[in-house]
Amino acid sequence: MKDEKNFFSKFRTYMLFAGPVTLAFFTVVIIPFLYGLFLTFTNWDGVSANYMIVGFENYRTIFKDAAFIQSLGLTFKYVIFTVLITNAVAFTLAAILTSGTKGQSFFRAGFFTPNLIGGVALGYVWQFVFNNIITYFGKNIGMTALQSSFLSSPKQAFWALVIVAVWQYSGYMMIIYITGFLNIPKDVLEAASIDGAAGWTKIKNITIPLIMPAFTISVFLTLQRTFMVYDVNLALTKGGPFKTTELISMYVYKKAFTERAYGIGQAQAVILFVIVAIISITQVYLSKKKEVEA
């Protein structure tokens, strides 16, 4: 009797504090997720009132779909380059802007600003830069390489996407690295200097291990964001020229809504979810292991 009452009162307290959040979480995350999972086993086209259960047929179609594999490969390439370059740039900026340079608060704010611009607006701004401004300079200084737009050649359009992503995320990651740098105890650095460590040795053996938590967070954030990118992709290249820059989110969207194969698109989204989950968890697990206390 007492136990029951105990459970009831515990439940009441839980509902009181976490009830609204639990309800919201279930209605906007868990239930749609399960329903989405169910739809991957149907041949629903996205609009019609009736559909049939087709079992694992959608998943089988996906692995036979060369364009899906290609788009996934392109996304991996995009993620690798973007994550590496973004973090390298952010780390370098953070190192410079914590070393006591003049006007460092101004520069910190400046580099952070791109992150405040929404993806679609940013995509259009850069489209204008690539299509009009760079080509204008190319024509006026006579450099043929710059005369045609980056966005009209498949190879360059990919790098245009990487450039914009790096530009967008570096500032944000820089802020995280700066907090990491500021948290390194001065005495440790001083001790290292006295022991004769300088330059790269000091960065490699003291700074990097001590700001490992910042790496964990930054790499996780960039990984997850670049895997899911859609807005910049849409506004900047729209997947073009001729579908060569269709990253996976756009591919899934087009499958589900443009080609009206909702079941297949949803199944692709599930596969994407599994891939991103595995990669992010592995990354967090591995870099957590490398974290050390000062």
Binding site: G19, P20, A49, T135, Q147, S149, L151, S152, P241, E259
Partner: protein, 453 residues
């Protein structure tokens, strides 16, 4: 102290719960007011019909999926009621961003289907079991040739062609006059090239090719399909042949002819240096202000061209030539297609309501006020040859002229995957990233993918 804390936490939780609820309740209330509005409207209309006639007053609903003409349609409904006091037509709009098929599916599911619904032609067949047969109607004989073919299901005519749109080479008469080119005389690829040359001699550019995949895939390339023959059945046979692999696209004369013209267009393209960086958004300015003579696009571009054309309203269409033989079908006919169709429900609405719906359709085609509403107020190109009213837009007028002379070919509209895939293949070809063989391979890959049904 403890009590205070407890009370405070309850308050806080309540606030959170409320704020979560607000998001939903807001929408609900909007929905409610809408529902109330329509309720109120219904009652009004009921009253008015009761006043108009005590016997046999019929009330029908019309689902409109062209949001921009909602007010005009409501005016037409009013005018119709003036002439037919027994019948009240209520125009219900399709929600913004909601597809008409989706909305009609929902309405059927709730046993509340409208008597008349405006659908995209491709979606008509999905409802065929529920629709009434219109093949006995008078307007069938006055419809533009080929415009009804797509709506015949098992000898039953299930839709009324409501709006026509056409696409081909748009010309700016002022530029052509300056270069001494007569658009009406261009009916071969060689003559088109000649015209481009004359225009370029005046320091202007020949033609603009919009590199968007929908323009290249859904409009330009399909010109080759509609140029195959003048009957929809023959075109269908051709497309079925492509899908089954029995017909090879690379052996087709019309397709090759169209691509020869495309090669010529590429040579005189406004954005020749970097064809894929051109943007549809900048094209209307180029043609409107006369920096180029031609543009491959459709009549929907007029509002944008108008902004840059000033007082110049002399624009029109010529067919895209597909050979050097003047008499060839494709050289004289431009593609046009029905882009909105009306269907009459026969499963939920009563006999009287169906008859009233048919009366309304006939009124649009044959009564002066109906024609005026359709052509002048809604600015729609009608699919009927008996309507002589002229639309107030030069591109629409040009298409009307082609319709009247029977010189439109049956514009082919295919799936979204078709324009995506073929559009990408054409972009590759436009940017010189592929040769014609590769283009044909890409096209064949689409046709054998099983997407076409």
């Amino acid at each position: 102290m403890n009590k205070f804390k407890k009370a405070f936490s309850v308050l806080l939780c309540g606030a959170v719960a409320l704020s979560v609820g607000v998001g939903c309740s807001k929408e609900q209330s909007v929905g409610q007011t809408q529902a109330e509005n329509t309720e109120a409207k219904k009652e009004q209309t009921k009253e008015s019909t009761a006043q108009a006639s005590a016997d046999e007053s019929v009330e029908i609903t019309f689902l409109n999926s062209k949001g921009e003409i909602q007010a005009q349609l409501e005016n037409m409904a009013k005018a119709f009621k003036g002439e037919n006091p027994n019948i009240t037509v209520e125009i219900i709009p399709c929600g913004a961003g909601q597809s008409p098929t989706e909305m009609l599916t929902t309405l059927y599911a709730s046993n509340n289907a409208p008597a008349i619904a405006m659908l995209d032609p491709a979606d008509v067949a999905a409802f065929k079991d529920k629709l009434g047969d219109l093949s006995g109607e008078k307007w069938v004989n006055d419809a533009m040739p080929g415009s009804l073919d797509a709506f015949k299901v098992n000898d039953k005519l299930v839709a009324f062609p409501f709006a026509v749109e056409g696409w081909s080479l748009i010309y700016n008469k002022a530029v052509l006059d300056e270069a001494g080119v007569d658009p009406a005389a261009i009916n071969t690829t060689a003559k088109l090239e000649d015209a481009f040359k004359k225009i370029e001699e005046k320091g202007k550019k020949g033609v603009i090719i919009a590199p968007e995949d929908w323009s290249l895939g859904a409009h330009f390339f399909t010109t080759a399909y509609s140029g195959q023959a003048n009957s929809t059945a023959d075109i269908k046979t051709f497309l079925n042949g492509l899908a089954s692999g029995n017909t090879q696209i690379k052996d087709n004369a019309v397709v090759n002819g169209l691509l020869d013209t495309f090669d010529v267009m590429k040579k005189y393209n406004f954005a020749k240096a970097d064809p894929l960086s051109a943007k549809y958004e900048t094209n209307p300015e180029i043609i409107g202000s006369g920096k180029a003579g031609f543009w491959f696009m459709g009549n929907w571009a007029w509002p944008q061209i108008k902004e840059f054309a000033g007082d110049n309203t002399e624009f029109g269409f010529i067919p895209v030539p597909v050979s050097n033989n003047e008499a060839d079908y494709g050289n004289t006919h431009m593609p046009a297609a029905v882009t909105k169709a009306l269907v009459v429900d026969a499963s939920i609405n009563s006999e009287e309501q169906q008859a009233a719906a048919k009366t309304f359709l006939n009124w649009i085609v044959y009564e002066a006020s109906g024609q005026k509403g359709l052509v002048e107020e809604c600015s729609i190109i009608p699919a009927f040859t008996n309507i002589s009213l002229e639309i107030n837009d030069p591109l629409g007028k040009s298409i009307q002229a082609y319709i009247k002379e029977g010189k439109t070919s049956n514009g082919v509209m295919l799936s979204n995957k078709h324009w995506g895939d073929i559009g990408a293949a054409m972009q590759k070809y436009l940017g010189d990233y592929s040769k014609r063989d590769e283009l044909f391979n890409d096209v064949t890959t689409y046709w054998t993918s099983g997407d076409y049904k």
